[in-house]
């Protein structure tokens, strides 16, 4: 029979509550930084992927294939255990002095996600009629300026639904950072569990946090989208 007494108090107050809150904050930080950076990097890679220059296009293509087709966990391990062997000492010293686990996890999440975002943005761009580029170019905009002012703003709007998915993935995937010791939500839930044996409560808390985070991200993007759409509708 069930031989387990629930004790929710340990996760709603005291030391363990503080741990979970610390985990929540780290997860928020890691997700936010990775989402913003992955979006910017994804934009850049998408533009490079469509560049006129063959080497740039080829580089972006290789980047995409490489980072989309290897497991995120391996990439996290690579940045954490492997990167210091190829980085200059000065950079390493600085990284270690800051928070190397966090940095490695953020870099891995950013790069991994940027590859998916770049592909989403690229298909958004391809769906914009080529006449838009012609109109921009004939006004005197360079290729990159045309992208910046005319093509990408339209493409990103079309890309919002898949982008939300990528953002949600970042939030969820950030839990993998625990494997290299980043004290994020899952890590802290695990800690609470091993100190208290209250695994059910601890992981329920973690589940609720991820759920709320996902709802928050969706709501934020939708609010932004709504605002943009409203501007469009306004007479």
């Amino acid at each position: 029979m069930l031989n387990y007494t629930f004790d929710w108090s340990i996760i709603t107050s005291g030391k363990y509550f503080d741990w979970l809150v610390a985990g929540l904050i780290t997860t928020l930080k890691l997700s936010t930084i990775s989402i913003v950076m992955a979006f910017l990097l994804g934009l850049l890679i998408a533009v490079m992927r469509m560049s006129n220059s063959k080497p740039i296009r080829w580089f972006a293509h290789a980047y995409l294939e490489f980072f989309r087709n290897t497991p995120l966990l391996v990439q996290i391990f690579f940045w954490y255990f492997g990167s210091y062997k190829i980085l200059p000492t000065a950079v390493n010293d600085w990284l270690v002095s800051t928070n190397f686990e966090f940095a490695a996890a953020a870099i891995a999440l950013t790069i991994y996600t940027s590859a998916f975002i770049a592909e989403d943005i690229r298909s958004g761009v391809l769906s914009i009629p080529k006449e838009q580029m012609e109109a921009a170019r004939s006004a005197g905009f360079s290729y990159l300026r045309s992208m910046q002012y005319i093509i990408l703003p339209q493409a990103v709007r079309i890309t919002i639904p898949p982008l939300v998915n990528q953002f949600l993935n970042v939030a969820k995937n950030s839990s993998l950072a625990m494997t290299i010791g980043v004290m994020e939500m899952t890590y802290q839930a695990r800690q609470v569990e091993s100190y208290t044996f209250k695994g059910f409560e601890a992981f329920t808390a973690a589940t609720v946090v991820y759920l709320l985070l996902s709802i928050l991200i969706t709501a934020l993007v939708n609010a932004y989208n709504e605002k943009v759409l409203n501007i469009h509708k306004a007479a």
Partner: protein, 248 residues
């Protein structure tokens, strides 16, 4: 101001422009007409290098388009282009459509650009639409905004590729009126159109194209009254027949 000398262009094996020689002087209005597929769009699009030429020389407002070192973006800022399908930026309001290039390319202040844009919108009769979005405008209104957008760069040359072909008949007049007004103000214009009324009234010269060749180049009166080539006669007959059928 625009000088074509022995210009050729191929799309793969298709010879779209075959030994084009044309000269447009400042303030002149040249109308280009001809049957579908004769190369009119390709011709007008070479003038701002939306289509690069393969052979010959093309000089536009002092810029040599056969020279790879020419700064093409600079030339394009001096040449306004109006498309058949308007191609307004759908994510921007009317006023932002007009001010985007002046503020980003000419680096003039937003305030000044908006003032100039309002002058242009008034000129094309759409000042009350400044905050509308392109999707909220009729075709004729969109095309007038597109003309205002091109004029906002203070171009030295205006190019029109069938600006009224995508419009409902009742909207053609309002766009042609704006173009006529522009021609009277002394703008150098190249206009691909089948609007023969406009050609007769406004053009200084008409170029007739067929199969990538400029077959005839004449004063509108001569072209319409005394076409020389059989192809031109045939083209004019076909153009006039449906119109007469429509207005008995």
């Amino acid at each position: 101001m625009i000088v074509f000398k022995g210009v050729h262009k191929w799309f793969k094996t298709l010879h779209v422009l075959n030994d084009i020689n044309l000269h447009v002087t400042p303030g002149e209005v040249l109308v280009v007409c001809g049957p579908s597929g004769s190369g009119k769009s390709t011709l007008i699009r070479t003038i701002n290098q939306l289509e690069p030429i393969n052979e010959g020389s093309l000089i536009v407002d002092g810029y040599d388009l056969s020279d790879k070192k020419t700064d093409i973006n600079k030339l394009r800022a001096e040449v306004g282009f109006v498309f058949q399908q308007f191609n307004l930026y759908p994510h921007l309001s009317v006023i932002s459509n007009i001010t985007l290039a002046p503020t980003k390319i000419r680096n003039i202040s937003k305030k000044e650009a908006e003032e100039q844009a309002m002058v242009l919108l008034t000129r094309v009769g759409l000042s009350e639409k400044r905050d509308a979005y392109p999707s909220q405008l009729s075709g004729g209104q969109q095309q007038r905004v597109a003309i205002a957008r091109a004029l906002a760069m203070k171009p030295r040359i205006m190019l029109f590729d069938e600006p009224t072909s995508a419009l409902d008949p009742e909207m053609i007049g309002e766009v042609l009126a704006v173009m006529k007004d522009l021609a009277l103000s002394g703008m150098t214009m190249v206009v691909v159109t089948h609007e023969m009324g406009f050609a007769r009234e406004v053009a200084h010269r008409v170029a007739f194209m067929a199969d990538g060749i400029v077959l005839e180049e004449a004063h509108p009166e001569d072209f319409f009254m005394r076409p020389q080539h059989e192809r031109a006669k045939q083209f004019l007959r076909q153009l006039l027949t449906p119109m007469q059928a429509e207005c008995p």
